[in-house]
Amino acid sequence: MNVLTEAATEKALVKKMNEINYKMVGQDVSVYYGDKRALFDVNLGVRDNTVTALIGPSGCGKSTFLRCLNRMNDTIQSAKVTGRITLDGQDIHDPSIDVVELRARVGMVFQKPNPFPKSIYENVAYGPRIHGLARSKPDMDQIVESSLQKAGLWNEVKDRLNEAGTGLSGGQQQRLCIARAVAVSPEVILMDEPCSALDPIATARVEELIHELRANYSIVIVTHSMQQAARVSQRTAMFHLGHLVEEDDTDKMFTNPNDQRTQDYIMGRFG
């Protein structure tokens, strides 16, 4: 019965995939940490210029899936990823793909703000510098300014670009990290619970920012806050125990989910 429904949804998904513009698509993605399997054959697409929220209780594999999308799991030696993940139709595990190039196209913002212990300017300029995106100093100034502007931080820091990035407040640090990710002109931005270490005001600021960024980027955000998922995302994917429970329009997910588990989780009955 279960197998049947899964097969049916998969079929439906494949059909849908052909109609919609997907930026990234994961097919049968499984992740193993040593002997432990953390993700079970997940099929999930990330749409162009859309915010996709990944929700689910702790340990359900949503961060693991997120980290597959820019191959951050490569840094964990015991981790093994199977299945196929494509970016614009190209397999990101293809030997011809340079993982560094991939991460420049698929940027990441982490749970805890982690600016480099350098100046604000250097924090933003680092990415463009190693990728050779700026040909001159004015070029670089331009990139730094526009990135900080996109992250909504420019007005707060424009007079102290040479001060340490670690001296900013938590919310500012997180927006600096977003500016840093934006500076290398990625196509997709992955956010792993970007607001979990922030206060409500800083959270609101970052959420607003996510709204603005959506115009130019595909965004995947992992969040523990139902309200946040409802506020910022257009698509929501529910994970449970390493399985993708379902994925649908956020409005539908929060009003009329297909799966009982989603219903229970959203209602706060577990998790």
Partner: protein, 444 residues
């Protein structure tokens, strides 16, 4: 009954409660024990410093006798050719009469003693003096026939007399000196001919034989130690840091790297003399490097220092938060870029501290150097590097060990003086480590 129980639990939050009192007493006891432990440590350190300083500080002052000496051509260059080869034929014995003559002249001027006392007077002056004269003349033969003023070392006993080591009473019993000699020395001191002043020679002169402690210096030992430290630094820093970075950041975790890790930890605990045996067997017997050479000492000390540096460097790398690596990788830096641009600079203070502590350990290491022949009596300065790395040399701690073996009590002072020099070097190195750490330290 119930009321009483309520009352006791109510009291549990009060200061007068038995359990609270017990806890406070335990805390006081622990604080006291800690203070006691610190006090014992400080006392031990003070005792050590006091004994070394009281024994050794006097080695930085030395008694000299200023004499005008006529470099008699009739003695030094009988043919009158000024041919260096001929002059070199005159041994130090030929120079002794010149010093004696000059002293006798001083005595006559002052009306002290007679011709018979001349031998007693000559014994005031170090046996090293004729050699100093000879070196002077060989360096510049044109000075023959001139009268030149020399600052000659006083003998160890006379020097000891002015440092309180020798007294009239002890001189009575001493074969090497006599009360008359000391009285004559006092007279010379009053005349300003005999002076005690700062002893630069202690830092520059080479070692001297058992009978002339006044001439013994640390020159060769300091050079040898400096050469070895140079070799250790140049070899162990890059090798150690490269190995640590690879092991910590790039190497896969498997049984082989585990084995390497265990071995590094064990190597750090291997007694240093074992490294000396290794150096003797491998570097001298198999590779055929010369004995007593700084290059062998440097290599042995490098092997000894490597585990220290690797362990310190790995700890420093581990202390860099993983979020920094993630951040760098997240903007598309390669593993190497993330390590070299972000992790390594943040780990630098720890690495430098570890390196300097490793170097300081190596500087004070004696046992392995004994085995590779650095305990030899070396009077010739090693040449400038790189050739000098292969010349025989001594090392500071070995020189200390060497001097403590000598019979003359003047060497006790020398050994303590050498320890002070060694301690100052160590102190400076540790200070540099602290300063570097302060300078590079960053918050995140």
């Amino acid at each position: 009954m119930t009321d009483m129980a309520v009352e006791t639990t109510g009291k549990a939050t009060m200061a007068g409660d038995a359990r609270t009192r017990k806890r406070h007493a335990a805390e006081r006891r622990f604080r006291l024990m800690g203070q006691l432990a610190v006090a014992i440590g400080v006392l031990a350190l003070l005792g050590l410093l006091a004994s070394i300083l009281s024994n050794g500080l006097s080695s930085f002052r030395q008694t000299y006798i200023t004499l005008e000496i006529y470099l008699d051509p009739g003695v030094l260059d009988k043919q009158g050719t000024r041919d260096p080869a001929d002059i070199a034929k005159i041994t130090t014995f030929g120079y002794a009469p010149l010093i004696k003559g000059s002293l006798v002249k001083v005595m006559q001027d002052r009306g002290v003693g007679g011709e018979a006392d001349a031998d007693m007077a000559v014994a005031l002056i170090s046996k090293e003096a004729p050699a100093i004269l000879r070196n002077y003349v060989l360096a510049d033969p044109s000075q023959i026939g001139e009268t030149v003023e020399f600052n000659l070392l006083a003998s160890g006993r006379i020097d000891g007399y002015y440092k309180g080591r020798v007294s009239m009473a002890s001189a009575e019993l001493d074969r090497n000196t006599s009360p008359e000699q000391l009285r004559f020395a006092d007279e010379l001191k009053e005349a300003g001919i005999l002076v005690t002043r700062f002893n630069w020679d202690f830092f520059t002169a080479p070692d001297a034989s058992d009978t002339r402690p006044e001439a013994a210096g640390l020159g060769v030992a300091i050079l040898g130690s400096a050469y070895m430290m140079l070799i250790v630094l140049v070899l162990s820093l890059p090798i150690g840091v490269a190995a640590s970075i690879y092991l910590e950041e790039f190497a896969p975790r498997n049984r082989f790297t585990d084995l390497i890790e265990v071995n590094i930890a064990n190597l750090a605990a291997v007694p240093s003399i074992v490294f000396g045996i290794l150096g003797l067997a491998v570097f001298i017997n198999i590779v055929g490097l010369p004995q007593s050479a700084p290059v062998v000492g440097g290599l042995v000390l490098t092997l000894m220092t490597l585990p220290t540096i690797i362990i310190a460097t790995r700890a420093a790398l581990k202390a860099v938060p993983p979020s920094i690596r993630d951040a760098a990788l997240g903007v598309g830096a390669s593993r190497m870029q993330s390590v070299f641009h972000h992790v390594l600079p943040l780990a630098m203070p720890g690495i430098l501290t570890g390196t300097i502590i490793g170097l300081a350990q190596a500087l004070g290491e004696t046992a392995p150097l004994l085995l590779i022949g650095m305990v030899a009596f070396v009077r010739d300065y090693p040449a400038a590097p790189p050739e000098g790395f292969f010349d025989p040399a001594s090392a500071l701690p070995v020189q200390v060990y060497n001097w403590t073996q000598r019979g003359d009590p003047a060497f006790v002072e020398r050994a303590s003086g050498a320890i002070i020099v060694l301690l100052v070097f160590l102190l400076v190195m540790n200070l540099v480590a602290v300063i570097l750490r302060r300078r590079f330290e960053r918050r995140w």
